[in-house]
């Protein structure tokens, strides 16, 4: 099925083939994302960005992606200065935006907001994060980062570390890695374990999953360490937060025990989970990951809005 005109609300909305189509297109669009080539595939197209929660990377990378493809954007970046502050419902805001633009990108604090928006909008809706729910484009760029390094996703051994309970990126990623046959090792404090329903979903797919609280043991023979931020606001007890977050800091000394091709990823922003010493090693992949957000979103936007990327070999 073509991606043209489609909503992307959850990573479950995309088949394995469609995910690979986006990732392949993104690979071909890297020179355009770097400004070395020019494309006008989305010339005359307008993208509405409705951000009801603060965001730096996601919003800017969507804007960059649209503009690099020749398109333009209109943005609600601060709901306090829009009609939302006057009590307008999300439903009405979305109906309005879908009249103005060719597609809507939504970030919202409530889970399911994008699914509702997609029902109301006659233009495609892309979920850019809904509360603790889904963030499918983050998952796509995470997969793009692994695929670029290893040329495959099947059989990769990926350690997910940190807040596996509330971290919205990690649930979508775990599902997608399960779809592609990666092996998952879960390393988190007991209070922040992967929710039972996500675990059950992985079990139903027949994914190879195990828990390993000791990071040193978890990363032995691993290909990828995916670190998430442990969020202070999730803890009622600050002493418990300090204990848990302190124990989930990546120790650069562990890099002496990993495979030479091992990479460390992080959706950013990081606080203290990865010390800056790691940045200078070939294992640090998180800045490349942040860059790949642009070609991945370029690929997705052009396939949804134009049905093609306009670059040879890139769909």
């Amino acid at each position: 099925m073509s991606l043209q005109g489609r909503d992307v609300i959850s990573i479950r909305d995309l088949s394995r083939t469609e995910i690979l189509e986006v990732l392949n297109a993104a690979r071909h669009l890297i020179p355009v994302a770097e400004g070395k080539k020019r494309l006008t595939t989305l010339e005359g197209r307008l993208l509405a960005l409705a951000f009801f929660e603060p965001s730096t990377r996601t919003r800017l990378s969507f804007e960059a992606a649209m503009q690099r493809m020749g398109g333009q954007t209109i943005t609600i970046a601060d709901p306090s200065v829009s009609s939302v502050s006057k009590g307008e419902s999300l439903s009405d805001t979305i109906r309005m935006l879908s009249c103005y633009a060719d597609a809507v990108v939504l970030r919202h604090p409530f889970e399911g907001a994008s699914r509702l928006a997609a029902q109301l909008s006659d233009k495609p809706v892309i979920n850019a994060g809904d509360g603790a729910g889904q963030h499918p484009t983050q998952t796509l760029l995470d997969l793009a980062t692994m695929l670029e390094r290893f040329d495959t996703l099947s059989g990769l051994k990926v350690v997910l570390m940190g807040d596996l309970r509330y971290g919205r990126t990690v649930h979508s990623l775990a599902h997608a890695l399960g779809v592609f046959g990666a092996e998952l090792v879960l390393s988190s404090p007991a209070s922040l374990r992967l929710p039972e329903e996500v675990r059950r979903d992985l079990d139903q797919m027949g994914s190879k999953v195990r828990e390993e609280e000791q990071l040193e043991r978890a990363i032995k023979d691993a290909d990828v360490l995916y670190v998430t931020r442990i969020q202070k606001e999730r803890f009622g007890d600050l002493a418990e937060y300090a204990r848990v977050s302190g124990s989930y800091r990546f120790d650069p000394a562990l890099l002496s025990k990993v495979k030479s091709t091992f990479i460390v990823m992080h959706p950013l922003p990081r606080v203290a989970e990865i010390p800056p010493e790691v940045d200078r090693t070939p294992h640090a992949a998180y800045f490349r990951q942040a860059f790949l957000a642009v070609p991945v979103r370029m690929a997705l936007l052009s396939l949804i809005l134009a049905g093609k990327t306009g670059v040879r070999g890139g769909g």
Partner: protein, 161 residues
């Protein structure tokens, strides 16, 4: 035995109704929850509501029965009963006769039957939208919110009232 008493086991515990609905084979102890689903408090006084708790049943051991006069079940109410009392059977009575009788059955999608247990779900925040759940597993029963994708396996506290 006095001649005017029915034979043992044949006592008339609930009077027949002319028109209405009988919900039988409710798991023992859940009749009061079924009454909440039926919203019997909104019926007028001419409609008799009979409830029998802890009734002997060959099939179930013990069961509850609810009879409501002058009410025929809507689909959302029938779906809600299927969630909390999956063994229940529904009989529609017209002019003292059973016109329809069927076990409750659960469709693949439930619209307006449950409220999402996730306080952060968009359906709990004043948007003009009905809750919607899809059945993801039947034994044991589990449903998933079509909006926030949160699963749930306990239904009583989350029935839309």
């Amino acid at each position: 035995m006095p001649a005017n008493l029915p034979a043992p086991g044949k006592e008339l515990r609930i009077t027949p109704i002319r028109n209405g609905t009988v919900v039988d084979h409710i798991p023992s102890g859940l009749a009061l929850e079924v009454l909440k689903v039926l919203k019997v408090e909104s019926l007028d006084r001419d409609s008799t509501v009979s409830v029998a708790l802890h009734v002997r049943s060959q099939r179930m051991g013990w069961k509850d029965i609810v009879k409501v006069e002058n009410m025929e079940l809507s689909a959302p109410k029938s779906n809600a009963i299927a969630l909390i009392a999956p063994t229940a059977t529904i009989s529609i009575i017209r002019d003292y006769k059973v016109r329809e009788k069927h076990p409750v059955s659960l469709p693949d999608r439930l619209v307006g039957v449950l409220t999402c247990p996730n306080p952060n779900c968009i359906t709990n925040h004043g948007e003009p939208v009905e809750s919607e759940f899809e059945v993801v597993r039947r034994r044991p029963l589990a449903v998933r919110c079509a909006y926030c994708e949160r699963s749930m396996e306990e239904f009583l506290p989350h029935l839309a009232r």
